[in-house]
């Protein structure tokens, strides 16, 4: 039961039951991105409103398990209003926490600076998701929203670079 309570922390269940920033944003001006977990059929849709390098607003819809939904909800609360480069930094910290051992497999790739191990305490509420690492199959659930967020921000960056 202890391991279970480590996975299903109260704060996780709270975000699962009352997800923050749920809904949609009009597209355009918002950018829409989807993420799928082929394992379980979970899907997530994120609407991103980036203006002048700041993630002004985001909304999340889709369906999934407690881990994917609460991770998405906590993510939305953590990144809303942040400059995009800080969002990227947070994504890296979170994904570093979500790796089983050592830095993520793609660490060292040219566009992915190596990250130091992260102290979950510095991640605020997000630290509650640390227990997921003990359940490797569920790591994909926890990172689903984060991968979609990264993809969406990259698409926006490419779009605005192309338009410039």
């Amino acid at each position: 039961m202890n391991e279970l309570e480590d996975l299903y922390r109260e704060i996780i269940l709270d975000h699962y039951r009352s997800p923050r920033n749920r809904g949609e944003l009009p597209v355009p001006p918002a950018h829409r991105v989807e993420g799928f977990n082929p394992l379980c059929g979970d899907e997530i849709v994120i609407f991103l409103d980036v203006r002048d390098g700041v993630l002004e607003d985001l909304k999340i819809s889709g369906r999934g398990c407690s881990i994917s939904q609460s991770s998405a909800s906590m993510m939305s609360a953590a990144v809303k209003g942040l400059p995009v480069d800080e969002v990227h930094r947070l994504v890296r910290s979170f994904k570093s926490m979500m790796t089983i051992e050592g830095p993520p497999a793609n660490a060292g790739a040219p566009d992915e600076p190596t990250v130091e191990p992260v102290d979950p305490a510095t991640l605020g509420e997000l630290g509650a998701l640390q227990g997921v690492v003990k359940f490797p199959v569920r790591i994909k659930c926890a990172t689903l929203a984060w991968n979609a967020l990264t993809q969406g921000l990259d698409e926006i960056a490419v779009g605005s670079a192309g338009g410039a």
């Binding site: 279970l4 059929g41 398990c65 407690s66």
Partner: protein, 412 residues
């Protein structure tokens, strides 16, 4: 409660009776893969220890013995499903998926043209969907689907119109999600009346009910070893010899030829025409031993046991939990297998399975390789418990007890 002595039987399954400390294994995922009995492991071991050699080529004694055991397994398996010519009509594949792909490639590509109709059903496993979707992309065939009815059986009301003019009708014999056992007779009759051949995905039926491909009057039957107490890596396609004769080979290579020149080849005779390369010999022998095991216990006894147990399970689960919604037909000795898919209100299947795992209870959560069916049911996933001959009331009681933790955790 039934003729099966499950306590004694369970002892013959090493993984189910291994000492796991204070966390005994409650295995409720046989629809994904069943556990092999010791007899199957012994048969494969004995093959490697006493007579391993490549088959069909060696003239020395152990190679001949290897060939004999492989071909004996083929005949055993053929008889098990009522094949009229077991030695010619059973083709070993690596699983049911490959067996269905064999039909799609060798029969489908040879016989289907743009606009031809193939009829499937809404409850098919991806294994009997994607090969046809690939042919749709490649050849431009038209796919139609027999719908699921409200009673979780296929809705055959419009069957004649649906199959009119079709070239092939491909249906599962038993759903890996709903536990529905399909009434094949009207489908076969309608298909043959319009000149279509019938492919039956028997992956979920062959392990649990007596199959007679000749009496069922079907044309193709696919099965997979690891769901019927055998090892992984072995499955089979049965097809009527006349059909196999007219089909071009599937994969090319050694074993499937009778002559090769630099400008051409002559295919081998049946069944080897469809078996390119060295076959999974030990696995085929293991599957043969699994068939012996199933015959000894008796498919009728297994079916009766599962029917009684699924009745017990459905009653216990729905009595204990208002929040459970079962996706499947009512218990029935003929029309329902031991697969139980359900939704637990307010809790995602992944979370249900995760919590149950902490009590050593193995159930599956997900789309079960039937995403179109999930859409029909209006869910992204279900939790699935599936029964086999080695399960008994204690496994169901453990499941019912484990779900109390789910309720407690998620309603706190």
């Amino acid at each position: 409660m039934t003729a099966l002595d499950v306590q004694a039987l369970k002892k013959e399954f090493p993984l189910l009776t291994r000492d796991r400390g204070d966390r005994p294994l409650v295995y409720l995922d046989s629809a994904a893969s069943a556990q092999p009995p010791q007899a199957v492991l012994d048969a494969m071991d004995d093959y490697y220890v006493t007579t391993h050699a490549n088959v069909h080529r060696g003239v020395y004694a152990i190679a001949e013995e290897a060939t004999r055991r492989l071909e004996a397994a083929r005949v055993k398996l053929g008889r098990f499903i009522g094949a009229p010519q077991p030695e010619r009509e059973v083709i070993f594949t690596k699983n049911a998926t490959e067996a269905i792909n064999l039909v799609a490639y060798a029969w489908g590509r040879h016989n289907l043209r743009r606009g031809n109709v193939v009829v499937l059903s809404e409850i098919e496993h991806h294994a009997n969907l994607v090969p046809w979707l690939m042919l749709k992309d490649e050849l431009g065939i038209e796919l139609r689907y027999i719908p699921l009815g409200r009673d979780f059986h296929l809705d055959l009301t419009d069957l004649d119109r649906l199959v009119a003019g079709a070239r092939l009708v491909g249906v599962t014999a038993a759903s890996n999600v709903l536990g529905t056992v399909v009434d094949l007779a009207p489908i076969v009759a309608a298909a043959h009346a319009t000149g279509a051949v019938v492919l039956v995905d028997g992956a979920q039926l062959a392990p649990h009910r007596r199959v007679d491909v000749a009496a069922a009057d079907i044309d193709f039957f696919a099965l997979t070893g690891h769901k019927m107490l055998g090892p992984t890596g072995i499955g089979a396609l049965w097809a009527r010899a006349e059909l196999l004769e007219t089909m071009p080979p599937f994969l090319g290579g050694g074993e499937m030829i009778s002559d090769v020149r630099l400008d051409g080849f002559l295919p081998n005779e049946l069944p080897w025409k469809f078996e390119a390369g060295t076959p999974p010999i030990a696995e085929a022998i293991g599957l043969g031993a699994a068939v012996d095991y199933l015959e000894a216990v008796g498919l009728d006894a297994i079916g009766a046991h599962e029917t009684a147990l699924v009745g017990y399970a459905l009653e216990k689960l729905t009595a204990a939990y208002d929040e459970i919604r079962v996706f499947g037909p009512a218990p029935d000795p003929v029309r329902r297998s031991g697969v139980i898919s359900f939704a637990f209100d307010g809790v995602h299947p992944h979370d249900v399975a995760q919590v149950l795992d902490q009590s050593g209870i193995c159930v599956r959560a997900g789309h079960h390789c039937a995403k179109p069916l999930m859409r029909v049911l209006g869910v992204a996933a279900t939790t699935r418990a599936s029964l086999y001959l080695y399960n008994d009331e204690s496994d169901i009681d453990a499941l019912v007890g484990g779900l109390a933790t789910v309720r407690k955790l998620f309603s706190r």
